[in-house]
Every structure is written in C-alpha cells, then in structure tokens.
C-alpha cells in the first residue's frame, strides 16, 4: 500500500477495531465476573441463612429447611434446587424441583464454599454452591450438660443451586450492547478516521501544491516556517535549503552565461565592427590604416589570451595537464614573478614586502607554481588601491609551507568571496577593463587542485584581501 492516507486509514481502523475488541472483551468479562460474584455472594448469604434456619429432626429420615429459607432474596422468584448428603454420601434430602435429576455430590470442607455451574435436564442452567457443616442434635435433658454430644453430631454435605437465567440474560444484553456499539463505532470510525486523516494530511497536500507551483524561472519562493505544523517543519526547512541551493546554482549559471557571453562576444563584436567600417572606407581617403591593424592585433592578442586560459582550464580540470615535479625555491619564483609586475606597480606607487624563512624548497611543477604566483600578483597589482603595500609571506608549519598574499581591496566585500573562484566572475560588473577576463583565480584553484595545494581567500579585515596557499613541504 503506497498511499499514506490509505495506510493510515487501514492502520487506524484496524487499531480501533482491535482496541475496541480488547476493551469489549475485558468489559464483558468484568461485567460477567461482577455479576457472578454478586450471584455467588447471594448464594453464600443463602447458605448462611439455610444453616441457621435448618431443622434436624432425624438424621436418618428427615432433613428439611424452613420454608423461609427458600424465601430469600434475590432468589425469591428463581427456581431453587437443593440436595443434602450425609457423611456417607447418602442423600438425605432433595428438592422437588429437581424431579428426576440429581445434583452432584461435592464434598466441600467446613467453612468452604465451592461454586459450580451445572446444566440440568431440559437445558436448565444453574449455579450451585456446595458446602458442608456439622449438624448436632442438642440434648438438654441429660447431665452433665452437654448440648452437643459428639454422637449426636452429623456432617452434612449440601449443594444449593439457583437458576442463573437472570445472570445469563444480563450477560446477553451486555454482549448485544457491545456488539451493537461495535458495529456503530466501526461504521462511524471509517468516516471519522477518514476525515481526520484527510484533514491531518492537508498540510502535506499544501506543500505538494506549493512545490508544484515553483518554477525554475523563479526560485525565490520559500515555505514560510509558521504556516505548517511542527511535524512538517523539518521537511519545509529542507525544501527551503534545497531551493536556496538551486536558486544559487541557477544564479551562478545565469551569471556565468552572461559573463562568458560578454567576454567572448565583445572582442568579436569589436573585430567585426572594425572590419566592416574599415571595408566601407575609401582607401584613397584613408590617412593611416595602422590604427585599424593595431586594434586588430590587440583584439587578437586578447582573444588568444582568453582562449589559452580556457583551454588550460579545460585541460587542468580534466587532469590532462602534464606535471613535472622538481625541487623549487619558492622565494626565487616569487622574486622573479614580482619583477614582471614591478613597472606596473611603480606607476601606481605600489610596493611589496616579503617575509620568509631561509629554506622554502618545495617539490612541485615549476611552471604551474609560477603561473599561480603570476595570477595572484597580477590581481594584487591590478586591483590594489594606489600607494599601498602588497604583503607576501611564507611560513613553515609542520609539513606545509603557507604562502600568504595580502593587499588592500577597497571595492571587495566579504560576500564576494563566495564567487571569487568562479569562472568569469569579476567585481566590476561592467567588465570594462579588458586586460582581465575573470578566469585567473579559477585557473589558480584548478592548478592548486592538480598539485595538491589548498587555496583559500579571506578578508581578515574590511578592505583587506588575503589569499593563502598551503603547499606540502618536502
């Protein structure tokens, strides 16, 4: 059964039936026990009455109860039966109501009452109590005064019975009542339980409806925490998390597509515009064609750089970039790389500082390490504010070298760190500076993964950007 509703309905109804059955069973037996107890108590009262009221004239010949002994509540209107035996088992008295039948001899101990259910001929159901007592014939005339000499005493076994029709009728009514109530409950519980289950599952239906209304074009919808019952809140929270992640993924995808389109299409548009305008010019009226060629070359170089970066990224991600491991002095690589950017840095009055231990030898691929450092320093020089210091340091901690590069970055926000390694991401949404395409840090990340280096970006203080590389030491 795959339906929650169906399963709940089935389980609840079966549960209700079972519970009702158990309760009904217990109730019936409690009632029966109570009624029989009551009946037995009445029998015992009758027994006590009999014992006090009986006459004993001649143990051999006669034993009879007083008439009033049979006029006892609650058996006044019931058919009563009795039978008496002496200690030898001889029947010394029996009721006429027995007719041809006999009650069984049950030898109860003195002060003991034994209760038994019997069925007499013609399906007459009775409940009987068996008891015994010693009946003595008192002698008052002889001396010494011995009211109950032993030889005048006789043990009698008596069984008294009364029709249990009254009890059986009440039990029957109880059973009918239970059965009737059971049927009514069964029928009504199907509707009630169904209604309760449907109403209970309604929030689930609302979740389903709301989920189906969510479109990939707009993932901003969320499930309000207060709108759903407590039990469903873990589900709504997970759904909201999922939507958040999906929304971010779609946004990332859209942003990437838009950024990639700009980076790839703009130079082509420039080249095309340049060529079409150039073709439309009368050559005889053109003073100097060199600006056109210069622009063509610049665009070509820009596209070459972008293409190279993209291809390298593709190869690195696919694990196809060859890695030649050798011993490298990290300080040498840093200094050589800084020299390439020194001129540009000077123009903007940017200096650098380098703090490092004497030995910074690592084993890795020199060209890839150089490419990583080049990208980091290039970004730092391009995006730092003027008149600042780019701080670089290397420190050894256990089995790793930690390279830190820190520079002021006024326009960067801590929220930007989430995107910094994504392809084509740039802080400048207009992407005006065509010397950077937004692939640099993506490539750095990819290179680092290839060389088992961990790269992370932080903003330890507002407007300060810090890049850390954890490089395994020899």
């Amino acid at each position: 059964m795959k339906s929650i509703q169906g399963k709940l309905l089935f389980q609840l109804i079966v549960g209700l039936f079972v519970m009702y059955g158990v309760v009904g069973f217990i109730f019936y037996h409690v009632v029966a026990h109570f009624l029989l107890n009551q009946f037995d108590e009445d029998l015992v009262t009758w027994v006590d009455t009999i014992s006090e009221m009986s006459d004993f004239e001649d143990e051999e010949t006669d034993f009879h109860f007083h008439d009033t002994a049979f006029d006892i509540q609650p058996f006044q209107n019931d058919i009563k039966y009795y039978q008496v035996w002496n200690k030898d088992g001889k029947i010394i008295a029996r009721s006429l109501s027995l007719k041809e039948a006999d009650l069984p001899l049950v030898k109860a101990d003195l002060r003991e009452h034994k209760f038994i259910d019997l069925e007499l001929p013609q399906e007459i159901k009775v409940r009987a109590v068996a008891f015994s007592y010693i009946n003595c014939r008192p002698i008052f005339e002889e001396e010494p005064f011995n009211i109950f000499p032993k030889e005048n005493c006789n043990r009698l076994f008596i069984v008294l019975a009364a029709s249990r029709e009254r009890v059986d009728d009440m039990l029957g009514i109880t059973l009918i009542f239970l059965a009737g109530t059971g049927v009514l409950l069964s029928v009504s519980s199907v509707f009630i339980v169904r209604g309760v289950v449907v109403s209970g599952l309604f929030p689930l239906n609302r979740i389903a409806e709301k989920t189906s209304s969510i479109d990939a074009a707009d993932l901003s919808q969320r499930f309000p925490a207060t709108e759903f019952p407590e039990e469903l809140q873990p589900i709504t929270e997970r759904l909201n998390d999922l939507l958040e992640r999906l929304d971010k993924a779609f946004l990332r995808e859209r942003r990437f597509t838009s950024d990639a389109a700009h980076e790839l299409r703009t130079p082509i548009a420039e080249l095309r515009a340049l060529a079409e305008v150039g073709l439309g010019i009368d050559v005889n009226q053109l003073d100097d064609p060199r600006p056109y060629f210069k622009d063509t070359l610049d665009i070509a170089l820009q596209m070459q750089c972008l293409t190279d970066s993209l291809l390298t990224l593709a190869r690195t991600d696919a694990g196809n970039l060859p890695v030649n491991v050798e011993e490298i002095n990290l300080i040498t690589v840093l200094n050589e790389t800084w020299k390439k950017f020194e001129k540009e840095a000077k123009k903007r009055n940017i200096v650098h500082s380098l703090v490092c231990p004497d030995n910074t030898i690592i084993k890795s691929d020199k060209s890839i390490i150089a490419a990583i450092i080049t990208n980091l320093i290039s970004n730092a020089v391009s995006y730092s504010s003027e008149n600042c210091t780019i701080t670089m340091s290397i420190k050894r901690v256990q089995d790793n070298h930690y390279f830190l590069l820190s520079n002021p970055a006024k326009n960067l926000d801590i929220k930007d760190l989430e995107y910094i390694f994504q392809p084509f991401w740039r802080k400048d949404s207009a992407r005006s500076d065509q010397s950077h395409s937004g692939i640099g840090l993506t490539l750095v990340k990819s290179y680092c993964q290839l060389l088992n280096i961990s790269a992370s970006a932080e903003m330890p203080a507002p407007d300060i950007f810090e890049m850390t590389l954890r490089i395994p030491a020899i």
Binding site: H262, R265, A269, E270, L271, A273, S429, A430, Q434
Partner: protein
C-alpha cells in the same frame, strides 16, 4: 539626426560612431552609465544606443530611469546578453529594439535609421514632397525621376528638413542634430550646406524648396499643386 552611443568599449564606440557618421548621423559617445543618463536627460536625441553592462550605472537602470521620467527617445539595446529572458526583460523595461553582439554594422545602422523614422512617425521610407522624393532607406534623392547626388551630411540635413516639412528648423537645431560637437559657434557650415543643397535640388528659375527665415532658421516648403 543625432544619436547617443552609451558603450564602455572604446573600440565599439569608435567604429559604431564612424559607421553612423558615414550614414550622415551625428553621434555623441560616452563610456559610463552616469554620464549616459545625464546626456539622455539633457539632450534630445533621436536614438540612444545603449549597452547593458556599463560602469557606474548599468543600462537597464538608465532605461528604467528614462522611461519613468516619461522620456520617449527610441532606445536600441546593444549587448552580449543573448538569452530570450534578457531580450524580454530589455523590451519590457522599455527598449525599442535589441541587438546582440557581435552584429553586422549594416544591420545596426539600418535599425537606427528605422528608429529615427519611427520617431517622426514615418512608416514609408520614401518622403515625397511634390515631385521631389527622398528614399530614406537607400539614401537617394530624386526629382522628377532624376537622381540627385548629395554628400552624406547634406543628405542628412535635407532629410531632417523634409521630416520637419513646413516647419521652421533653427540653425542651432540643425547644428545639434547633424553636426553635434563638430561645429564651431562662429562657423557657417550650415549656411554652406544649405547653399550646396539648393544648388543640387532647386530648378533654375523656380523658387527654392528651402526657404530662409531670417533670424529663425530654414524651412522645407511643400507647395500643394
């Protein structure tokens, strides 16, 4: 006709500007959004070519701002964003046309010219003034079936007067729409151009189609037969 190019790529600014000038359209250029918005608000352009990804203020913000102010200048979005969603957003925000980079320069110029005609409520590309016909699509002038050659600037000037037929167009307006910033305040380039046009289009012995209103400007007069 005067067009504003708001595009942060200097090269594209340059080459689009050249192409439009070749087509006889005066061009203003800017590379940032804030200046673009300022110019759009303060100068009456026939068309604005608007990039979306601009520094300081993006293209869609400029578009929204202009439309909210009630500015009805025709705007052509020129962008690398090519998804249907981007196009729909641009057009819904109030752009009149959308062109994706890279593009054919010829197409860009044709779209700009179409927007210019639309700004003057002209559906037909041919302006007929008596026996005088200006084919704005092919930029050909003819009178009584005879083709008349005019340099691009003069053609644009005549076209401008034809679009404002029977209205006086001031010299300043002509300078702004045909010559933009290239005209020296003291120069008589407009007078000279009018003179050139008259020589080409007027029939000897007949009154000039272009009437001079002293102190006010010029008017292309349409004489009903």
């Amino acid at each position: 006709m005067r067009v504003l190019i708001v595009e942060d790529s200097i090269r594209l600014q340059t080459y689009i500007g050249k192409a439009l000038k070749q087509a006889g359209i005066a061009v203003d250029k800017t590379g940032d959004g804030e200046e673009g918005l300022y110019l759009s608000k303060n100068i009456k352009y026939d068309v604005i070519i608007l990039d979306l990804m601009l520094p300081k203020l993006d293209g869609l913000s400029i578009l929204r701002s202009l439309r909210n102010m009630g500015n009805k200048t025709h705007i052509l979005i020129l962008t690398a964003k090519d998804t249907t969603e981007d196009r729909v957003i641009g057009l819904q925000q109030g752009a009149d046309d959308y062109l994706v980079k890279p593009f054919a320069m010829e197409e860009l110029v044709a779209r700009v010219q179409a927007l210019i005609r639309r700004s003057y409520n002209i559906k037909n590309s041919k302006l007929e003034i008596g026996d005088f016909v200006i084919d704005t699509a092919r930029r050909i002038i003819s009178r009584s079936g005879k083709k008349i050659e005019l340099p691009p600037r003069e053609y644009s000037l005549l076209e401008y007067l034809a679009l404002h037929k029977n209205q006086v167009v001031s010299r300043t307006e002509i300078e702004m729409h045909i010559y933009n910033d290239e005209v020296d305040l003291m120069s008589n380039v407009v007078n000279s151009a009018i003179c050139t046009i008259r020589k080409k289009i007027d029939e000897p012995g007949s009154p000039s189609l272009i009437e001079t209103r002293r102190g006010m400007g010029y008017m292309l007069k349409v004489v009903n037969p």
